[in-house]
Subunit: 215 residues, 2 copies
Amino acid sequence: MPRIAPIPTTSDAPSPFRTRAEKIRDREEKREAVLRAAVRMFNARGFHATSLDDVAASLGISKPTIYHYLGNKEQVLIECVTRGLEPLRQAAEAAKDEPGTGLDRLRRFLRHYAQINMEDFGRCVVRTGDEFLSQEGTLQFRARKREIDMALRGLIADGIADGSIAPVDVKLAAFTLSGALNWPARWHDPAGAMPVEDIAASMVDIITGGLALRP
Amino acid sequence: MPRIAPIPTTSDAPSPFRTRAEKIRDREEKREAVLRAAVRMFNARGFHATSLDDVAASLGISKPTIYHYLGNKEQVLIECVTRGLEPLRQAAEAAKDEPGTGLDRLRRFLRHYAQINMEDFGRCVVRTGDEFLSQEGTLQFRARKREIDMALRGLIADGIADGSIAPVDVKLAAFTLSGALNWPARWHDPAGAMPVEDIAASMVDIITGGLALRP
DNA sequence: TAAGCAATTTACTCGTCAGTATATAAATGA
DNA sequence: TCATTTATATACTGACGAGTAAATTGCTTA
């Protein structure tokens, strides 16, 4: 460690000289900026219809800069879906250890799920088909999604076991629920009037409560 | 009419000389064959990842032949989604004049809807985002889909009016239902064991009946 | 029989875009 | 002070793929 600890600067006068840690953070920030710009364009125009030249231009940089931070176009997409999948994974994990009946926990998880699917990276997950990735990428992607699907099925099974959920086909129910809550990735307009939380809550009410009027 | 009526041939010995009507039908058949080959590849690999050379090769013909029957690549896609939308439109129209409560009619329609979305052209409708079409194409496509969405909303509203459906937000409910039933276009495997009718029926039960166990 | 039309091919053009080679300038460190 | 690393740019290559030009063959019709 040949480096002397820097004298702490007053926090309101940021030095133009960056420490090693700061530079690592700078780099991260730039990476993230590239990913956010990319995911927005992927969502708006589709992966194949978006060139990395476009993405670079939208940030006022050049294409090789993107290649400097992220190896290639597929890598950009993979990082985007990873960022979309991560909060889903966390929500799924959290749902396991929560109190309440299976139905209660399922409903909480589904509201999370719906909201994440209306955010930039979540939308990208839904819109990314296997067509876009290499064989290896597809395998990883599917494995990650499967993890979440399995958690969802687990919650449904729990609910059936404790009597809070009707005895349905678990796999089919999981597909049906996720389909309903994935679809906003296609139609939801972030500029819309209705808050995301409300949309999520209403959709979950519809699919768990059912449309038929209860006597 | 300078043409003499042909002597009727025995039906088990088809003549190699085609009449005018036969030639028109031949042409139609070839068009359809191109569209069917194209839609399969679009569904399997995505629109952008499918070249018309690929489609032609899969039929043992050359690319200009496709251009002979269909003006350009967008036209191919438009014809595919048209063929997917048409049965949906018919089902929506038929649902209006059927007997039963709003809920009954809705459920019947939804089962149709789900099944169509598991067929080649129906899947293509679901998987075709606005990204793929020109401005004009997008407008037409959206208008057609809107027609079906409106029919769906109408059925839900009818059910609410006659008391068979709970008083939900109609627009959101329509999006939720269609989302759930669109999703099989992504995951359903036509070679799967479970018959399409059964999948459709189960999914419709889940979304109309709701997951929560009824006391 | 000649003109025209329908169906189909081979062999192109042209644009786009992922990815790369190379240069440069600044900061870091020996 | 000199070598190395980091960040960035300009300018290229190479592939792919939509769409077209032009030739061919055979049938239809004046």
